[in-house]
Symmetry: C2
Subunit: 195 residues, 2 copies
């Protein structure tokens, strides 16, 4: 499916736009391509855009003082990615966004999102429910971190991104879960056995 | 300030409602009072409402298999509280909500929120930006949990709720931060010394 078709299908799951409204909405998105390893947002950057993933896989991450990488989020096709803290509060980026594979994206600016939300009520409805979903997902992840439960984190990750285990290098999955490579293998094998 | 005035001031920070729109909006809220220790949402409940805090302090929490309490959130005046996972996805509650002090609340049902969002575009705008704020706060907290950085979690908590240290029993603050009482005292003393 092309970028336009994918975005249309994605929006239609939540909101009802007329064909003319969708055309207008889509005209504010800018198609972008990046190569594996390219950096889209770097800590300290000004952040003006968010990205709808058309193909490929991204990660948002930060490196702590001990030079350990923590992965906040993966982004697969039909997911959105940015440093939302920086984007929403107009502060400098505190995380990085880069490409695990070659990717195609649709970029939407903060300014255009707000304009579209003002102009088309259903667009505002769409973005409200998109964020509601993200809020709930962030709280679920927080609960499993508070409970220090790597098994639940692993199972939630596989539910969110069933194809991830074969697509993404294992050290990145371990960095998302906050566990060692050895623990990841153990979780993978015990998960397989109950499937 | 009375409940109506507090809600009006809170909404006005983000959205512009006419006096007639605000009256209509406010007519969907139901005032409620609870005593210290009363439970508002219990794990396993169906959740139909969210709550705007007028006075007092609430906590959302869960107890893990080791009977250890984890606090997901405090809610002070002008904050909103519910089990948003259960409320938004119409599933059973996975956390509890109870009263740290006597509280006064304004209750809004899921059904009425959606109706108001459809009827008044500025109400949809308000709730979108309220959730955007919650999403960013949840991700910040997640980052500090991933980084296992109790000092940052403490400083973020004090920034969010400057009055909390004197209002809330110390063992609850420790349960929010995921640290012992002794670590909390150390963080409090080192924080005081740099103020």
């Amino acid at each position: 499916m092309d970028a336009r078709g994918l975005l249309k299908e994605h929006i239609t799951k939540l909101a009802s736009l007329t064909p003319a409204e969708f055309d207008y909405f889509f005209s504010h998105f800018k198609p972008l391509s990046f190569k594996k390893g390219q950096v889209i947002i770097r800590e300290g950057d000004k952040v003006d855009n968010e990205y709808f993933v058309v193909s490929g896989c991204l990660k948002t991450f930060f490196i702590n003082d001990d030079v350990k990488m923590h992965i906040l989020q993966f982004a697969m096709p039909t997911w959105w990615a940015s440093d939302y803290n920086a984007l929403y509060t107009q502060t400098k980026a505190t995380v990085n966004l880069d490409c695990i594979t070659d990717v195609e994206l649709l970029s939407l600016s903060n300014v255009d999102r707000e304009k579209l939300c003002r102009e088309i009520h259903q667009v505002e409805y769409f973005f409200r429910w998109r964020t509601n979903g993200g809020y709930v997902a962030a709280h679920k992840r927080l609960l499993s971190f508070m409970n220090n439960d790597a098994k639940t984190r692993y199972e939630e990750l596989m539910k969110l991104y069933p194809l991830l285990y074969n697509l993404v290098p294992k050290h990145l999955i371990a960095a998302y879960l906050g566990v060692s490579r050895e623990t990841l293998s153990r979780l993978y094998n015990s998960h397989k056995n109950v499937m």
